[in-house]
Amino acid sequence: MTSLAAAPPERRVPRWLARHETLLAAVLIVALAILGALNNRFLTLDNLLNQGRLMTEVGLIALPMTFVIITGGIDLSVGSVVGLCAIALGYSWKNLGFPLPAAIAFAIALGAICGFINGFFITRVKVPPLIMTIATLALYRGFAEGISQAHSVRGYPEWFYFMGQGELFGVPTQLWLLVAAIVIAGVALDRTTFGRSLYAIGANETAARFSGLPVDRIKLVVYTLSGLMAGVSAYVLVSRVTTTRSDMGIGYELDVIAAVVLGGTSIFGGSGTIWGTVVGLVMIQLLKDGLALTGVKGDATIVVIGTVLIASTLLASSLQKRRDVGG
């Protein structure tokens, strides 16, 4: 006797998860092969690295979002946090006269604060994550637009662009950052008490609490992380596009969640892996790119992404129903 989406059905089991990811990876490879065959410029190192550059901002946020969703929560405010942090970076530098490094630090810190505020209301006041972050989705974007009055900030010194446009050992700088973040997040989720606690909380919060896990503190950390990474992402983004605008990051939340869910993380919480998220992330990015290169227009690409999202979730839940002995 479950009560609709409200009460999650049996959750996925790790064994199955592994299979979901391999399945996804397989699909990905096939897709790549086809797209590669259709356009010879698609599977070039140059292009792939470049795609890596382009997907970094979303990727950095997708990692903590995986944590958030594994705990059974959600964070829709990330896109707005990116916007707010971008503005914070530009304004603290241009208008408040911060030295640029300080401005960067400030922006990232502000991101963490934004996330903390989400976490605080979610854990202490028990505001459902969905609504809380919808509220801050509007609130943070509003601050970004209001403070900046939609004025852009430009004319950063050359060194600032290294992160967004430079290369390190022939690989886009930010890609190193992303890879490092992926490794850290992956290890944290798979090997540490923290990671284990996330699964426990998502799968059965009461049991986690009864087992002496600091549930609320962990959640607070997770949402703060989400904001923090959004701040980092904002820095990378500003550095890549050389200018700060209040409309930065609009719609990121959807890309991020799409990547995470596509990566096999159960939106009900309790299951998911960083590796899955990465596959999902790459899949979406390369799907977009590959389709574009093979002459599919941007708008049509959006449709494909949406369909893939629903389809994969359907597939996931049907597989899951088959694997789980009922109720």
Binding site: S3, A138, E145, G146, I257, D299, I305, I310, L314
Partner: protein, 331 residues
């Protein structure tokens, strides 16, 4: 907040009045107070024309918020509604231009709206895919689909008879406003006085109990989404017939405004409470704020921040209220 707290204690006569006692009254007060304050700064704000314009320009938000309230009351969420309204508006406009009878151009989008939403409802209810995922996917499908089909071509030369908004009563009450008021009252009565209406509350509040009462949560959810589609369709008409041009793109952030209206209207995010009257009042308040910002020469860029603050405020208030009530029960 004391007003809110009181509502839980006092349990006067069961009538729409009692339902109105909390959020709705607060909102009504807020609307009046804001009007007076801004009016004091700039008397023109209180001109009937301005007030009715505020309603006119945003009636479609209020209408869409009615459906959204039902969705949230039933314990779900929908973020695809903004895109859907864009699509339906385009359908309606293209049909009108293509020379179909106006009645048809008004009817078809509504039907399509119902179909699309009912479909989503079915996926959510029977396949157990969370609403957020389904509607998120649908959002991008509709958004991308719309542009790839229309190429974003503007729809112009709409027949004059197509424009609901031009019809005015007593030369001051435009049709959209009447529709908004009508829809709100009907919806409120329906939710209050019909079995299906109550079933929505039941499903949102206590699905298990609803089942034991012979109410199928699944069916209810599908019904709710179908209705949501109906209102989205009507909203799309108001949206489409407002200007002589239809942009045939997805109106930016519309879903956010609609959800805000619903939540601020006192629809409990925990499901199971709320009235559509509240959401309509909230929609009006939000529109009023937007207009007020111009009247007091504040950049409209702050409207989003104000929206967010409003949601947060209401949600926290709602939770406080519930905690009070729980406390009340255990005596």
């Amino acid at each position: 907040m004391s007003a809110i707290a009181m509502e839980t204690r006092a349990a006067p006569r069961a009538s729409l009045l009692r339902r109105l006692s909390s959020q709705e009254v607060l909102l009504a007060i807020a609307i009046v107070v804001l009007a007076l304050v801004v009016g004091a700064i700039n008397p023109r704000f209180l001109a009937t024309r301005n007030l009715s314009d505020i309603l006119l320009g945003n009636a479609y938000v209020a209408v869409a918020a009615i459906g959204m309230s039902m969705v949230i009351i039933s314990g779900n969420i929908d973020i695809s509604v903004g895109a859907l309204i864009g699509v339906l508006a385009t359908i309606s406009g293209s049909m009108a231009v293509a020379g179909y009878s106006i009645a048809l151009a008004w009817l078809v989008p509504v039907l399509v709206g119902i179909a699309v939403m009912a479909l989503q409802g079915a996926v959510i209810a029977y396949l157990r895919i969370p609403a957020i995922v389904v509607t998120l996917g649908m959002l991008s499908i509709l958004k991308g689909g719309l542009i790839s089909v229309t190429g974003g071509k503007w729809i112009t030369d709409l027949p004059d008879s197509f424009h609901l908004a031009d019809i005015e009563l007593f030369d001051i009450l435009p049709m959209p406003v009447l529709i908004m008021v009508g829809a709100t009252i009907l919806a409120a009565l329906w939710m209050r006085y019909t079995a299906q209406g109550r079933a929505i509350y039941a499903t949102g509040g206590n699905p298990e109990a609803a089942r034991l009462c012979g109410i199928s949560p699944q069916v209810t959810v599908v019904m709710v989404f179908a209705l949501h589609g109906l209102f989205a369709g009507i909203a799309a008409l108001l949206f489409a017939t407002q200007l002589k041009v239809i942009q045939s793109t997805v109106p930016p952030n519309l879903e956010l405004t609609i959800i805000t209206a619903a939540v601020v209207g006192g629809v409990s995010i925990l499901g199971g409470v709320g009235t559509v009257i509240g959401s309509t009042l909230a929609a009006i308040l939000i529109a009023e704020i937007a207009s007020a910002l111009v009247f007091v020469s504040i950049s409209p860029y702050w409207i989003r921040a104000v929206q967010g603050g409003l949601i947060l405020l209401t949600v926290v208030a709602d939770i406080v209220r519930r905690q009070r009530r729980v406390a009340g029960d255990s005596r």
